[in-house]
């Protein structure tokens, strides 16, 4: 009997409504299934429509799975998404992540925020050199030489709006409910940044145009793999 139900409902998903008014043809695709997401995470021409909703298309799959679980399980807080994800299995989250990760959409044009030269210097130092004395590696060591991320679990830093970057770093720094309930390699770094540093980085990153691909896992130094093992091991895999 249960088999029958399974089969029946499976068939239903391929069916097109045939009776009454205008029949709706529902494509049996992930794009159709995630319409509830793309209303905010704009696909196509809606990219960057709203400064605050982050781009998720093209981000590494492991990273996306990680975030979806965090939203669902209350480790990262944004209620509208928590409600949508509440009754979803890990398998489905994995599939949704895979879908968004596979999308290749054009990136929005970079912002044009005026910056003082000292600010630029400060940002570039953090991003490409880091402060070993404060145990802060260069952002590029983890986020890839072109800052487009490293597979499978470290996201790129370009193509994100400034407001979003500031909010994320702020979420970690406050150790509050927004992000980073569970400390990881990124929250440890963010906690050490000063206000001036956060501002400079957010402006600088938002001003760059995004291009290039995420780097393969092999480009991540072993000590950094170790440092971020929580993000990489726990969530890159399906289970």
């Amino acid at each position: 009997m249960l088999r029958f139900i399974l089969l029946a409902s499976f068939c239903m998903t391929c069916v097109t409504s045939v009776y009454g008014g205008t029949p709706i043809a529902v494509p049996d695709t992930m794009a159709e299934r995630v319409k509830a997401c793309t209303i905010c995470h704009g696909a196509e021409d809606k990219v960057g429509r709203d400064a605050y909703y982050p781009r998720i298309a093209g981000k590494p799959q492991g990273y996306l799975v990680n975030q979806l679980r965090n939203f669902r399980d209350g480790r990262r807080y944004y209620q509208p998404m928590a409600i949508l994800l509440e009754n979803m299995s890990d398998e489905y989250l994995y599939e949704i992540a895979q879908y968004f990760s596979s999308l290749r959409l054009p990136y929005p044009a970079p912002e044009q925020i005026p910056m003082q030269s000292e600010e630029i210097e400060l940002a570039e130092h953090l991003i490409y050199v880091g402060y070993p004395g404060r145990n802060i590696p260069a952002c590029s060591a983890c986020h890839g030489d072109v800052l487009m991320g490293i597979e499978p679990a470290i996201p790129g830093l370009l193509g994100l709006p400034r407001a979003y970057i500031t909010a994320q770093l702020g979420g970690w720094r406050n150790g509050g409910s927004m992000r980073g309930q569970v400390p990881d390699c990124m929250s440890e770094i963010a906690k050490q940044l000063t206000d001036a540093e956060v501002n400079a980085i957010a402006k600088w990153l938002a001003n760059q145009s995004a291009s290039g691909e995420p780097r393969p896992f092999s480009t991540l130094l072993p000590e950094l793999v170790h440092r971020c093992s929580q993000n990489i091991m726990a969530n890159g895999s399906k289970e």
């Binding site: 009997m1 249960l2 139900i5 399974l6 029946a8 409902s9 239903m12 998903t13 069916v15 097109t16 409504s17 009776y19 009454g20 008014g21 205008t22 709706i24 529902v26 159709e32 299934r33 995630v34 319409k35 509830a36 997401c37 209303i39 905010c40 679980r69 669902r72 399980d73 209350g74 480790r75 509208p80 409600i83 949508l84 994800l85 509440e86 009754n87 979803m88 299995s89 398998e91 489905y92 599939e95």
Partner: protein, 430 residues
């Protein structure tokens, strides 16, 4: 000096706790010794397996696990109008869980709502329903809980508001509203019906949500008459009224389909009901879920076909105009999924035409759907559900009111209009 005092205080306290723990464990040691001999059964693994199944039916894990936390280790916060309850750890951990309990303690909790120390438990733990569970089933659940690995996790205490935190009040409450007693089969009904009644009234604790509650949070009757869930902005419809979620005119298979997959051609489970299906009902055996369906159907079996009363009102011109605004919003935001005829797509997008959830006298759930959107639960029968977007960030309260008023009165639907105030009231809280 001050520091010293504090230090003394702490160690004194620790000493007390230690002493208490020793006494308690000694006490339990002697009891468990005795009952272990009695409980020695040959088929322990079968009992444990059966207990695991029953714990699913009772969805013990749903409440006794925090989001993303360790199963059965408790810590989930349940907010009610009486305060915030924090579920206890019911793993076999000896210090923080119920590892030192014996069968009798467990029975006392499930059947009488008393903790092992005799303390009366708050009915946020649905022992008001679980009291119907047989001793044999309770023992099986206990055997299962004792078989899962202990997890050491202490949870914060309940935070119950005055005056509900006064113990005498709970005692009075229990006298007034708590009926202790195992389910008694109705001999005039079939075995399947009785099985369904046993599960719905007992372990399934459907009445914990599907009921009207009085000011003291007591369920007003046990006919699953529906009501707003305490501490939640959701309305759990009556399962015994044809106008709400009664299923008298449904085929048994369709009720089973709703309860196991979360979606049928004319209904879809949302919010807390989706959670119940995801965590519990989808795992029920064919026999048990059938029994439930037969029992649920029997509430309204003889009413089938009655057209709901009240629903007819003649539309004035201004009313029609009001609804037309809603219609335009519908066309723009909703039609691609739910269709211009409101018929949706079976098994994918629910029909809104002739949909009871849309027309219920309480507009809470349809308003919530529009504000927050949602996905039916992922289940074995519907593992990759389609979703509804939230509109909270796009439509103003007035617009939500218009579009909900429209769907409540389009395609032959008839129900009350919704105002922006209703919409505002439906926001917030899960």
């Amino acid at each position: 000096m001050r520091r010293l005092a504090i230090k003394y205080h702490i160690s004194h306290y620790q000493f007390d706790v230690l002493l208490l723990a020793c006494m308690v464990s000694l006490l339990f040691f002697s009891i468990t010794q005795v009952s272990d001999v009695v409980a020695e059964e040959p088929d322990r693994s079968i009992e444990v397996q059966h207990g695991a199944y029953l714990a699913r039916v009772g969805n013990c894990m749903g409440c006794h696990t925090t989001k993303g936390g360790q199963p059965f280790a408790g810590g989930r916060r349940l907010s009610t109008s009486f305060g915030i309850f924090v579920t206890p750890n019911i793993t076999s951990d000896k210090e923080t869980g119920i590892g030192l309990w014996n069968q009798q303690d467990f029975w006392q909790a499930l059947h009488q709502g008393k903790s092992s120390d005799g303390r009366s438990l708050y009915p946020a733990f649905p022992y008001t329903e679980y009291t119907k569970v047989t001793r044999q089933d309770a023992n099986a659940i206990f055997a299962y809980l004792q078989s899962i690995p202990p997890i050491s996790q202490s949870n914060p205490p309940n935070d119950i508001f005055f005056p509900y935190n006064l113990k005498p009040l709970l005692a009075i409450w229990r006298i007034l509203y708590f009926k202790e007693g195992v389910y008694e089969p109705d001999q005039s009904r079939s075995d399947a019906w009785n099985r369904g009644a046993y599960l719905v009234q007992g372990l399934g604790h459907c009445n914990a949500c599907h009921t009207t509650r009085n000011m003291l949070g007591a369920s007003q009757d046990d006919t699953l008459a529906g009501g707003q869930i305490m501490g939640m902005n959701w309305y759990a419809p009556s399962l015994s009224s044809y106008q709400e979620a009664g299923s008298g005119d449904w085929a048994i298979e369709e009720i089973v389909e709703l309860l196991t997959t979360g979606i049928t051609k004319r209904a879809v489970a949302s919010g807390p009901m989706a959670t119940v299906i995801k965590q519990s009902l989808q795992y029920l055996s064919q026999e048990d879920i059938n029994g439930m369906a037969i029992y649920l159907k029997s509430f309204t079996e003889n009413e089938g076909g009655n057209t709901p009363g009240v629903r007819f009102l003649v539309m004035s011109g201004s009313l029609q105009k009001h609804l037309d605004f809603g219609g335009q919003l519908y066309e723009k935001h909703c039609q691609t999924c739910h269709g211009s005829d409101g018929k949706g797509v079976p098994g994918i997008y629910p029909a809104l035409a002739d949909n009871r959830s849309v027309m219920m006298s309480s507009p809470l759930n349809p308003i919530r759907s529009v504000l927050n959107g949602g996905y039916p639960p992922t289940t074995a029968g519907n593992p990759r559900p389609y979703g509804m977007p939230p509109f909270q960030q796009i439509l103003r309260n007035e617009e939500v009111a218009l579009v909900v008023s429209y769907i409540r009165n389009a395609w032959g639907n008839r129900s009350s209009l919704v105002t922006a105030v209703d919409v505002d009231r439906s926001k917030g809280r899960n």
